[in-house]
């Protein structure tokens, strides 16, 4: 078991290394010299070529690529994300507040999806072909086929503009104003969770239906278990096993979705930070945000893997 965890950890570290390398190289390939853009912004100053060169040097952009990469990565290991080239702020400081906001929304969305998704799937599998199954299927199809921003727009139009029940945009941390935080969170959390809920519900439904046809379920019936016990004891655990593996992907979807959702609802989280930095060609910020997001995903994959081994006794670590 412990060797497995160590190997899995090692694997995760390698993935983070590869991702950081890919991101680093991709961003060096970006058109647009950040120094030139920085200069273009500060037109009130006279820029001589020497000054530009000095600025370049001070930002470390004159070193060779491997040197730049290792400097960046080793700084990151120490929790130092460096300074934004464009705006001279400490990325780590900025990132901290953004991560907190995104984490709040992400964890809420994940919690909602992990509870509601399987529940809907199980209900619709058990009541297969009945009214509730059709309702769940339609809901799941909307969740999978409708773009997030469109759902967000629809809900804003309905609940915020027409009914004036919820705020249109913004985010407040719960320890600042809990009531406002909840009211502001409802729509973003629902929009973010909708996709994962829909996918999980669909997967759960088909997984439950598959398990219902297994021999051991027939054995359970033959032993005289009633429907509730067959479902709770024999069907549920087995059909939720594949759902556990799915959750890593769902979390990745939530992290990626935050980019769009935070933009629509004007939430100062990682996603919005990323898009703003992207449009301002602020390399180091994009790099850092991508690596942090990937880190979240890799850790969740790791947790899912370990969890799966705990749920399914057939998995052996060796």
């Amino acid at each position: 078991m412990s060797t497995y965890i160590i190997r899995r950890l090692f694997h995760s570290v390698i993935i983070i290394l590869i991702v950081s390398l890919i991101v680093f190289l991709l961003l060096r390939a970006l058109p647009g010299d950040p120094i030139m853009m920085l200069i273009a912004q500060n037109t009130n100053m006279e820029w001589t070529p020497e000054m530009i060169e000095a600025l370049r040097d001070s930002k470390g952009l004159n070193d060779s690529l491997p040197v730049q990469y290792f400097r960046w990565f080793s700084m990151m290991l120490r929790g130092d994300f460096g300074v934004s080239i464009m705006h001279n702020y400490n990325i780590g400081e900025q990132l901290k507040s953004k991560v907190v906001v995104s984490m709040m929304l992400g964890i809420c969305s994940f919690a909602v999806s992990i509870i509601v998704g399987p529940l809907l799937g199980i209900i619709s599998a058990i009541r297969r072909g009945k009214f509730i199954d059709n309702v769940v299927t339609i809901f799941a199809n909307i969740g999978i086929t409708a773009p997030q921003f469109w759902i967000a727009i629809l809900l804003i139009f309905l609940f915020s503009m027409r009914l004036q029940l919820l705020p249109i945009y913004g985010y407040t941390l719960p320890w600042v104003n809990l009531g406002l935080c909840i009211r502001q969170s409802i729509l973003p959390v629902f929009v973010t969770a909708l996709g994962p809920i829909a996918s999980t519900a669909r997967q759960t439904r088909s997984s439950v239906l598959e398990v219902l046809g297994e021999d051991y379920v027939r054995t359970a019936w033959a032993k005289g278990m009633n429907e509730r016990k067959v479902l709770m004891k024999h069907v549920l655990k087995n059909s939720l096993m594949p759902i556990v593996t799915l959750q890593g992907t769902m979390l990745r979807q939530i992290v990626g979705g935050s980019v769009v959702v935070e933009r629509v609802f004007v939430i100062p989280g990682m996603g919005k930070f990323m898009v703003d930095a992207m449009q301002g060609r602020d390399y180091t910020v994009v790099q850092s945000v991508t690596v942090v997001m990937t880190l979240v995903v890799v850790i969740s994959y790791l947790i899912v893997d370990l969890l799966y081994g705990w749920v399914d006794p057939r998995i052996q670590y060796d």
Binding site: I14, W150, V255
Partner: protein, 312 residues
């Protein structure tokens, strides 16, 4: 009770072994595979509906110039933000362009991006998957680790990075969205190659001196065809959504090109007074993605050998 005595000692009448004709049970006519395919595919009404919808959207997109009542790019600043009426069925946008015509032309962009994205992703992913599976060893490990790494980055982020490098535009959006999708094909094809390689008939063929190339085309690609087709249909929907997402963020396909995602974003400013401007293009995205996903579902059922012979 013990019947062993009977079992061993009784004289069973010796059956004469003279020949006689066994009557063949008249066989049921063989199932017509193509007919069966279409029957299973369209057995769910919703799939049939999705197919009709898709065909309609494709026809509209191809003949967009003839179908659209107005030119989607002609601005008319005297006629901005019109309410829907007889001439402008869905009204006009902030630059006085006819919304319906823009949505119709947007279908072209969406389908184009969707098809090309999926083609690029499938071609690149399948090739790399084949290489990884056949090469095995270190090459496979390296390819699969990089694939793992790419699949750890959220799709939208990969696309964002790529569009950033290539600058906005249809081609770069295609490449950007495909970059988020091709690892799926690598994983699937690599898995197929690994499992087919271990089959006895492939080993036998190898022993008789068949080249890997022959095996790839004779056994592995046919085995992958069904899952690849299903994956491609499913990803068509996904790539159209991804493109819309990028365009909504303002880094995908940029104005004035009629892209649904960008139209949603432009219309959002007027949501209070002209909700159709942002809701109608989004609805179009949903219809198209829905029809692809439903057909993908149907294809999966129709191509799944495990479901052969069952009623539903």
């Amino acid at each position: 009770m013990d019947n062993s005595q009977v079992f061993y000692d009784s004289q069973i009448p010796v059956i004469p072994t003279d020949e006689f004709e066994v009557l063949e049970d008249e066989l049921l006519p063989p199932v017509n595979e193509i007919k069966r395919f279409f029957r299973v595919l369209f057995s769910r009404k919703i799939v049939l509906f999705a197919a009709i919808l898709l065909v309609a959207i494709i026809i509209i997109a191809v003949f967009a110039n003839a179908v659209a009542p107005f030119d989607p790019y002609t601005q008319n600043l005297k006629n901005v933000l019109q309410e829907p009426d007889g001439t402008h069925l869905l009204g006009t946008d902030a630059l006085g362009r006819d919304l319906l015509s823009r949505i119709i032309h947007g279908a072209r962009v969406a389908l184009l991006v969707g098809f090309f994205t999926v083609m690029v992703a499938a071609a690149v992913g399948t090739t790399i998957g084949l290489v990884a599976g056949f090469a095995g060893g270190a090459i496979q490990s390296v390819i699969m680790r990089i694939t793992d790494a790419i699949t750890s980055i959220p799709n939208l982020i990969i696309s964002l990075l790529i569009v950033g490098i290539l600058r906005a535009g249809v081609t770069s959006v295609v490449i950007a969205v495909a970059a988020g999708m091709f690892p799926g094909y690598i994983r699937m094809v690599n898995g197929q190659v690994m499992s087919v390689k271990q089959n006895d008939y492939v080993m036998a063929e190898r022993a008789m001196g068949a080249s890997w190339g022959r095996i790839a085309f004779k056994h592995i690609l046919p085995n992958c065809m069904s899952p690849i087709i299903v994956m491609m249909t499913m990803m068509l929907g996904g790539s159209i959504m991804a493109e819309a997402g990028l365009s909504y963020l303002g880094i995908g396909i940029t104005p004035p090109t009629a892209a649904w995602g960008a139209m949603c974003y432009d219309g959002y400013k007027y949501l209070m007074t002209r909700p159709l401007l942002s809701i109608a293009p989004g609805f179009a995205i949903m219809l198209l993605v829905f029809s692809f996903n439903m057909i993908g579902d149907g294809l999966r059922d129709a191509l799944d050998p495990r479901l052969r012979g069952t009623l539903n």
